[in-house]
């Protein structure tokens, strides 16, 4: 058996991201005989979907098992983790946890990933591979409204991350708003852990699903999930208010109340149809924005996905426009964990194709057989059809910008008000990039990750419906690194993990 490549020999495949997509890609690549390195920023595998506490010891430590009921498909997660472990033991896979890829280049047919440890004593390194699978997931889209900067207002993904990763309920009286089915598990999770969910304000109207029944029919699992959530929402007496939106949060030093308002059939605010609710916690989510930085840096073509947000363009095998680069999961379009798993598996096979030519068809239904690939391909296509329907049912309504006031902060980092951005757009500037240069929107710590969606929507609103989507904010550095670390870079090819931690400690008990 070949040992994992040392620093001088490139790996066959580097997988960036240890969520559902990355885990599926890495374990598939292993199964078809490739040597793999899996790089994950977090302290443990799982990504957003299977997020788990940091491995730890000590009295009263948080155990993964305690959070069991907040998760789905843990048997799949355990199976994937066990395969990673086996690969490590056999010397065919290297797992770099707490390691972030902050930039990447192509050179001489290889992809060179610049990595840095996260946390104290971070060290820089390089990982070289013949193929890379980028599976860096997504982050919440939070659109601004007056008062959204108050402590106690969080993204719904953030509320979920606190629950799944730390077992912490962010507050006791919670109002959720935005659009999309992800509002439901968050409401149920919070209620299960003792919070009172005062209402879920869903901007879309569910009747729209009637137009997308074929996509639902192809995904009975999703339908069953929806029915289960409906039952549990009823049990906790949580009301879902369709065509309703959070338009304001108020409070002195943290949120104390929110105002919600009804929307008409066209997605506009209904005048005076408001209600003020006393609450200590507000969760907002308008879907997810794919994390495409590394693919953009490597030169991969991008295009607007069905929700209008930019995704990395792929062919049916998850191959991008750059031969060495594959993408999987939310990076190639937001659509949930089942889609991410299917895409990860296909990317694993495609990595092998790129290195060894198309696989010879085998009669067996083993990994990489034509039969297996077409089964997974069909699953991926069905999930993608469902995702497209979902984006059509849950668009961002026109009302989102009607709720804005001049002083509302559009960019939280640089504290740029909506009025400043509107003033620049009114002067005839078109495109998010000049708006950025003129107002410093997106130039702060988060590099526009929080305000990019709102900025693009304001520009698009002014440009009219037929205009092309604005190009993405460019970020040379996908993850922040310290200047000290950059200064200390030398040309060693050092891929040692920054620290060794037993990541499967708790999963073993699942």
């Amino acid at each position: 058996m070949t040992a994992v490549a040392g620093p001088a020999t490139p790996y066959d495949v580097a997988v960036v991201g240890g969520g559902p997509a990355g885990l599926a890609a890495a374990t598939t690549a292993l199964a078809v005989g490739l040597r793999v390195v899996l790089v994950e920023r977090a302290t443990a595998l799982g990504g957003q979907y299977w997020r788990q506490p940091a491995p730890s010891s000590g009295a009263g430590r948080l155990r993964f098992g305690e959070l069991h009921d907040l998760h789905h498909g843990l048997d799949t997660f355990t199976r994937l983790c066990n395969r990673v472990l086996e690969g490590e033991r056999a010397g065919r896979l290297r797992l770099l946890l707490r390691t972030q890829v902050w930039t990447a280049v192509r050179t001489e047919g290889l992809v060179v990933l610049s990595t840095a440890g996260t946390g104290a004593g971070a060290s820089a390194g390089e990982v070289r591979a013949r193929r890379v699978v980028i599976a860096t997931g997504a982050h919440d889209v939070a659109l601004p409204f007056p008062g959204w900067e108050l402590p106690g207002v969080m993204t719904i993904g953030g509320l979920q991350a606190l629950l799944k990763g730390s077992g912490v309920v962010a507050g006791q009286r919670v109002v959720l708003g935005g659009s999309g089915p992800f509002l439901l598990p968050v409401a149920v999770g919070l209620a299960r852990r003792g919070a009172t969910v005062l209402g879920v304000h869903e901007a879309a109207s569910p009747q729209r699903w009637a137009r997308h029944l074929p996509a639902v029919g192809r995904n009975p699992g999703r339908l069953a999930e929806g029915v289960a959530y409906a039952a549990e929402l009823a049990r906790y007496r949580i009301r879902v208010h369709p065509r309703s939106m959070i338009v304001q949060a108020e409070g002195a030093d943290e949120v104390e109340a929110v105002t919600v308002q009804r929307l008409d059939a066209r997605g506009h605010l209904v005048p005076h149809a408001t209600r003020r609710i006393s609450a200590d916690t507000v969760g907002i989510g308008w879907g997810f924005a794919p994390v495409i930085d590394l693919a953009v840096t490597l030169g991969c073509a991008v295009a607007a996905g069905p929700d209008g947000r930019l995704v990395v363009t792929t062919d049916a095998r998850q191959q991008t426009s750059v031969p060495e680069v594959l993408v999987a999961g939310e990076t190639s379009g937001v659509g949930g964990a089942a889609l991410a798993l299917a895409e990860g598996e296909l990317a694993g096979y495609a990595a092998r194709d790129g290195l060894a030519g198309p696989l010879t068809p085998t009669p067996a239904a083993g990994p990489g057989s034509l039969r297996r690939r077409s089964t997974v391909g069909r699953r991926r296509d069905a999930q993608r059809a469902f995702a497209s329907a979902l984006h059509a049912v849950h668009p961002v309504p026109a009302a989102w910008s009607q709720a804005l006031t001049g002083p509302t902060l559009l960019c939280r980092c640089e504290e740029v008000p909506v009025s400043a951005v509107r003033a620049v757009i009114a002067r005839g500037v078109d495109g998010a990039r000049p708006v950025r240069q003129l107002t410093r929107v997106g130039m702060g710590w988060c590099q526009g990750r929080t305000c990019e969606a709102a900025c693009a929507l304001l520009v698009a609103e002014a440009a009219g419906p037929s205009a092309a989507p604005p190009p993405p904010f460019e970020r040379l550095v996908a993850q922040p690194v310290s200047l000290g670390l950059l200064a200390a870079l030398d040309d060693r090819h050092d891929d040692d993990p920054p620290a060794d931690e037993p990541f499967l400690d708790d999963v073993g008990r699942v």
């Binding site: 009295a59 606190l162 504290e415 410093r440 929080t450």
Partner: protein, 103 residues
Amino acid sequence: MTSSFDFDGRPVRYRPGQTVGAALVADGTRSWSRSGRTRRPMGLFCGIGVCFECLLTVDGVPDVRACLAPAHEAVAVHSQDGPPSRHPSHPSPTADELAEGAP
């Protein structure tokens, strides 16, 4: 349930496996930093390391994201009065300034 870390001179209890940010929220602390210009209070927003609203100082290292840092017995955590490594050298223009002419 005896683990705690020091936050601005007082003990904050946590369960090993939690992040510093989660432990602070569970402790009832919502904000531990202030923004650079308007000094607005900041705490957790995205919860996953994207927004940089949750910065604090851990063991003397500033600008640590509370939502990513695992809580440890040994850490000493301090709130931050604004992100010191980013005090804006180029303040954002106001709407009035922009309306009047090129910045």
